[in-house]
Symmetry: C2
């Protein structure tokens, strides 16, 4: 990569833009060049906090700026389609926060637009880059787990107890699935990263204690094409949990991350534990976790891809597979847990074409 | 209770009879008075190891001995019905290892015979007596968890990889459900002890790596009548796992037991960890686990009940509710995860009449 940094623009300047902004500040490959939000005050505040030299007065103006090489989208889920496609059509590479969109239809349109534009398109399923998940993948690839039979994951926090109508996350049409599309979708990607594509999902979703329109307790069983069974638990009505466990014929692995360090991704590994357990043993010695910085690395990859020096790890297809788990779960829940197949949903979204 | 110990007889003198024999040796309420196995050598060995004064030459002779007050049944699951009903009809109190039987039909017949006999009948779902589970129940009852939304449990070990045709556990007609009826049924009771009756079960069962006829990987979602969702994972193809987690609006609890200390139940609590996590906190301070001895306590309770000085905690109804989770799971798995209701199965077994 040449010395000049990739000039990126941020659109949607809420909490997550700031988390990614801090990730970009830790990078030597990316420059925060421009930004846009409908709210001029938010815009000015963001530009000041991150020393962004340009504030676009409209999204059209931001996209018209030829210096902008990539757009980082952190607008609400239900706006992704329009915001992303507009950028792609302007020839800009796009990085969007997960999920790729709130519906499979929107996700399919985005995937087709990205393919047509022929520019890098990345979706922020950063969690698979956590050191613990990278180590787990290595153990699987090295055969140290033997053959995996059960995989269990949980991502929960207390957000559902605090939601008000001021946020789009409150509403079922903007964020269908509640905790599942906001938190669980991370593990939908992690589990498929580790064990390959999910074939079908059986699920029950409940709105128990939240005032929002969306479920705050969702449990799903994932049938993997490769044979194992997966469990995905996600809640929005308890203290924070982030765990993933794998049970294999040779060993088990247990991963536990302190959720409160999620936003500061360069610290996340140091606030995690990964332990192993060998056949016939009960001791669980710690496994060394490689140091990662998921947000910085994902933004670096995006920058390098723009310059043709890297491949995007999580693009439209991977993101559609993660979103399909969410929508298959909601459909299954409406059908009393009956397994819903993933492949037709992925095919229909057109990602594989 | 008077000074003289309750005279119990053991039938079925395999590994589990010896585990319970050691539990009885720690008791001051029970005397190992007689024993029977079809195999005279096994009988003599058991009598010698535990200093049992009488060895019955037939089961009929054992039951004809008026000095015998209670029979402890540890024969294979599929023989429970005949062995138990014969003892009940002879007017003996019966303690049987879990599950109550291998089929709902047999369980129902046993329940009706126990009700007709009017003598104490206990089923060895001892796990709920573990200190960790007792503490969790106390937290729920005290309101310290707030309202529970998610409960996750896993009980797994490597047994399925080692099964041969020499053992009844190998065969689907003798032990339907494999790991689920042998291990998972414990958590089916624990979870209902903690959260009340299960309304319905969605499940997927797989025979992945075992040579036996039965599944070695089973995942189930339990819908509780009280609202929460439960997950029950159980495997027979990995190193041992025994865990139960509860997520509530005020706190989470995480329980982990070293499976290798299961048999020596007076040591189990000291090889367990229970930690809590409060709202908005990421630290997980340990919770003190009360000291228990599940096998001894269950046998003591049985002895006291024979003398009219205690109530049986786990009788036919509780055991049928646990077994119903197993059979509902197997039926659900055959129906692609569609939820199967528990109440009709429990009613049909006749336990509530």
């Amino acid at each position: 990569m040449s010395d000049d940094k990739v000039r990126r623009a941020s659109v949607g300047l809420g909490r997550w833009a700031r988390v990614l902004g801090r990730g970009a500040q830790r990078s030597d490959k990316v420059e925060l060049y421009s930004c846009f939000s409908r709210d001029p005050e938010k815009r000015a505040k963001f530009a000041e906090e991150f020393g962004v030299p340009h504030q676009a007065s409209s999204y059209e103006n931001l996209l018209a700026d030829e210096a902008v090489e990539g757009v980082v989208v952190t607008t609400p889920n239900d706006t992704h389609k329009d915001v992303i496609i507009q950028a792609l059509r302007a020839g800009k590479a796009v990085y969007t926060d997960k999920p790729i969109a709130h519906t499979m239809e929107d996700a399919g349109e985005i995937a087709r637009a990205a393919a047509a534009a022929g520019v890098p398109f990345a979706v922020g399923h950063s969690a698979r880059r956590l050191g613990g998940h990278r180590a787990m993948k290595q153990w699987i690839d090295d055969g140290r787990l033997g053959r995996v039979s059960l995989a269990e994951a949980n991502f929960s926090n207390e957000r559902g107890l605090e939601l008000t109508t001021d946020t789009w996350r409150f509403f079922a049409d903007k964020s269908p699935g509640g905790a599942l599309i906001q938190l669980g979708v991370h593990h939908a990607d992690n589990l498929q990263y580790l064990l390959g594509p999910v074939a079908a999902v059986s699920s029950h979703a409940r709105k128990l204690y939240t005032k929002a329109e969306v479920p705050d307790a969702i449990m799903s069983i994932l049938e993997f094409e490769s044979g194992p069974l997966g469990y995905l638990g996600t809640g929005w009505a308890s203290p924070g949990v982030y765990q993933l466990r794998l049970q294999g014929t040779e060993a088990n692995l247990f991963y536990d991350l302190d959720f409160n360090n999620w936003d500061e991704s360069h610290l996340a590994d140091s606030k995690s534990t990964l332990v192993s357990q060998a056949y016939r043993q009960s001791v669980r010695p710690p496994v060394e976790i490689p140091h990662t910085d998921m947000f910085r690395e994902q933004l670096d990859e995006f920058a390098l891809a723009i310059r043709g020096e890297a491949k995007i790890e999580v693009g439209a297809l991977e993101a559609i597979r993660a979103l399909a788990v969410v929508h298959a779960a909601l459909e299954s829940s409406a059908r009393h847990g009956t397994a819903v197949e993933i492949a037709p949903m992925v095919d229909k979204a057109g990602a594989i074409t």
